[in-house]
Amino acid sequence: MSKLEARVGIRMPRVDAPETVAGEAMYTDDFYLPGMLFGAVHGSPIAHGRILSIDTSEAEAVTGVKAVITGRDYNHVLAGPFIKDETMFATDRVRYVGEPVAAVAATTPEAAREAASLIEVEYEDLPAVLSIDEALAEDAPVLHEDLASYFCTFEGKGTGNTLCAGDLTEGDVDAAWAECDVIVEQTYETGAQHHLYMEPSGAVAEPDRQGKVTIWSSLQSISLAQQRVAEWVNIPMAKVRMVAPRIGGGFGGKGNAHFQPAAAALALKTGRPVKLMLTRSEDFEMMRSRHPSRVHMKTGAKADGTLVAREFEVILDCGAYADDSPGVVSVAVLMGRGPYRIPNIRARGVGVYTNKLKAGAYRGYGNPQVSFAAEQQLDELAEKLGMDPVDLRLKNTMNDGDRWLGGQPVAVSSAAKCLETARDAATAAPALPDAGPDRKRGLGYALFSAPHGLLSTAANVALRTDGSIAVATGAVDIGQGSDTILQQIVADALKLDLDQISFASQDTDSSPYDWKTAASRVTYMAGQACLNAAIEAREKILVHASDLMEVAPGDLELRDGGKVGIVGIPEKEITFGMIAGRAHYQTGGPVVGASEIMFETPAVDPAVAQSKGLAFSKVGAYSFGAHAVEVEVDEVTGEVEVLRAWCVHDVGRAINPAMVDGQVIGGFVQGLGYALLEEMVWDPDDGRLANPTLMDYKIPTAREMPEIHSIILETPFGDGPHGARGVGEPPIVGAPVAIANAIANAIGKRPTVMPMKPERILDLLDGESA
């Protein structure tokens, strides 16, 4: 296969690595434009209240202040991806501490912050609901009294503080319990995790005299941010240009718009560039979190281990606005069966409003929460049945051609292979030296899946006049390396070196549409689009070559470095440059390949399942993974140390295995933080986030990092480029529950609340419910 294989399947460094290590990569906060003003946001100090008045006069009097804007300066435009319930600034009512009420632009950051603090807002306090139970109480204050009138993209809008509710049923659960020899039933809770991308969120906006505003912002989607600016600032999308600079991490938190509209509004109002960067604490208080959850689950099996029935309800605490919550609820429902054959399922997913920061997309998207319950239930069943937990899983894993919960066919299932590989690796590893006194070791497993795909994307591949290739896609590289991977795919299709490719930065003025860097979808979706576009360009190149060389296209081959030759005649070849010259100046016109694709397979097949109220009708294709984790629990302090992990992921085809390892190991460690350390805590008295700093919200450091083995499986899969599947999210689905199962294996007691902090482990050891 000569150099074909040298472009796909190799561990090549990222194309942007040199500028990154040199400190020259330009992130949002690195833009310093001539005449630039600095923005600051005034956030609500209370969790719930009516705005009686806003007085900006003192703020406007601060030296250097050029503009103060509030919601009253803009039409009351409600926006949101599923339920349109949120405005740019709170106008009549605030619903969480930190909710933006006004913004300021001034000549220095200090003046902007001082002015923002001098905005006087008079509130009438309303009682706040800060938990699922408080939100669902009969006499609970209702956050969104106009919910019934909000525009909604799906059929499952709720009432009261229930923003959405959906159901999915297969088989006959009520009758099936009678067939079960063992049943386990438990309630599990998980906490709020912050994305904690290292780069705080923000935007730089520059207006021009045609009324257009250009925005550089840390984001995961130029198209969605552009659309939201247009909606909230009330200008056409034609007047909004969104550009992706280097992005310092996202993990879902920057997937929908954030402060791009406020920055754009300030820029348009002042006629000057405005930089609006959140401080770390503001980012904690004003962006998004992972949904806290409560999952009640019941699973039954026959004495031989055959799974028969499962019923579960997942309730997500969505915070003050819907944002991505209906989607997250849907995915939690669809993932609640896991990669197993269980013929009878009844599932319900509910999202509730509370007076806290809005929860949104976060790597895993509802799947880690429901998997924390589901994969523990299998261990609980195994214990009751006296079976090995891996054997129980293997007895029930789905096979090729089985259907996912809801009925979507899974052509290729490598679930069993993933789990067997993880077990083989863990059992083959040499045992560690004995643990010290009062320390207990345990090994835990998780088998899981995650969807990848979702919605649409496009790409263009064009031949330039010198024979080099220009690639354009709207898919933003948020750090995972897609700029490199997509270039590898195009280089492979056209037999080029990477330095013969110009890869365009993502810019709504020139890039083809991409929905979002999310849902583990960029390699799978944008990769397909880039490959299709490259193949179309290749066909056109071959037609030109055929005319030029007077041979049938079938007798031609691409040769390394941008050449076309006659098969079997090494000396007969022409360059892409010669072809480009003909196309641009003589006949045919410029060579452009273009591709537009959409993920079209429905998640729910009405012949298989009955569903109502789910926000997503299509979520993506399913990929598989399995983790084996070894932990050590200190019975005196309650601390859990993760010692070793074997993380197996079937990625179909690893276009760049180094980047797959990066997703797996990075995702595992983020999951370790979620499992053991990380929890946003709101003060029950005033609804204020109690730990909005890195001093008080701890994430894993190099010291917490265990020995992690990333094991890549490559079972080619359908339509992905070279058979590739998504791998961004799966690692964080498996890590927390594999750790939970390992803890239970170590101490003989089962953690049901995450994060599994030392005090909770001590409570468990003391026999109290954790």
């Binding site: 690595a17 290590v21 310093y32 991308y197 310092g248 983020q670």
Partner: protein, 165 residues
């Protein structure tokens, strides 16, 4: 805020006569006055390490280091490591090991590694983990970063010197 304190610094080998405010950190001066943006403002609280710079060869938190107190000191930022177009061996090691994803922590990690290598050229893996454990990364899980630092150690790099050994 008045910038009325004169400060003379050597930054990446060049002399700079600056005026700073009493509250200015060296990170404020580097970024906002000089547009040396390699040092990042990740938390502005001394926790994340993305603002790491070298002051007289020692890795410090740019956001916690008072600019006025640096009078006469030599400051090295990530922009000062490469010799023109030739990357510093620590930077090369990070490229080769693929020791980055989003890259926001990378300048701090590179400088923390460079400082460790000049202070302790025979650092063990444990020493590397200890030295880098005060710089946060959210993407990578650290393994590749530790690998890169160890690879740089093997080449026997010293800050400001050539790769040797």
């Amino acid at each position: 805020m008045t910038r009325n304190i004169p400060v003379s610094l050597e930054i990446n080998g060049d002399p700079h006569d600056l005026r700073v405010a009493l509250s200015d950190s060296i990170l404020d001066v580097l970024r906002d006055q000089l547009q040396l943006t390699g040092a990042k403002r990740g938390c502005n609280q001394g926790v994340c390490g993305a603002c790491t710079v070298l002051v007289d060869g020692r890795a410090v938190r740019g956001c916690l280091t008072n600019a006025a107190a640096c009078e006469g000191e030599a400051v090295t930022t990530v922009e000062g490591l490469a010799e023109g177009l030739t990357l510093h061996p620590v930077q090369e090691a990070f490229v080769e090991a693929g020791a980055m994803q989003c890259g926001f922590c990378t300048p701090g990690m590179v400088l923390a590694t460079a400082a460790l290598l000049s202070e302790n050229p025979t650092a063990s893996r444990e020493d590397v983990v200890q030295a880098l454990s005060s710089n946060l990364c959210r993407c990578s899980g650290y393994q590749v970063i530790i690998d890169a630092a160890l690879a740089a150690l093997e080449t026997g790099v010293e800050i400001g010197g050539e790769a040797g050994a």
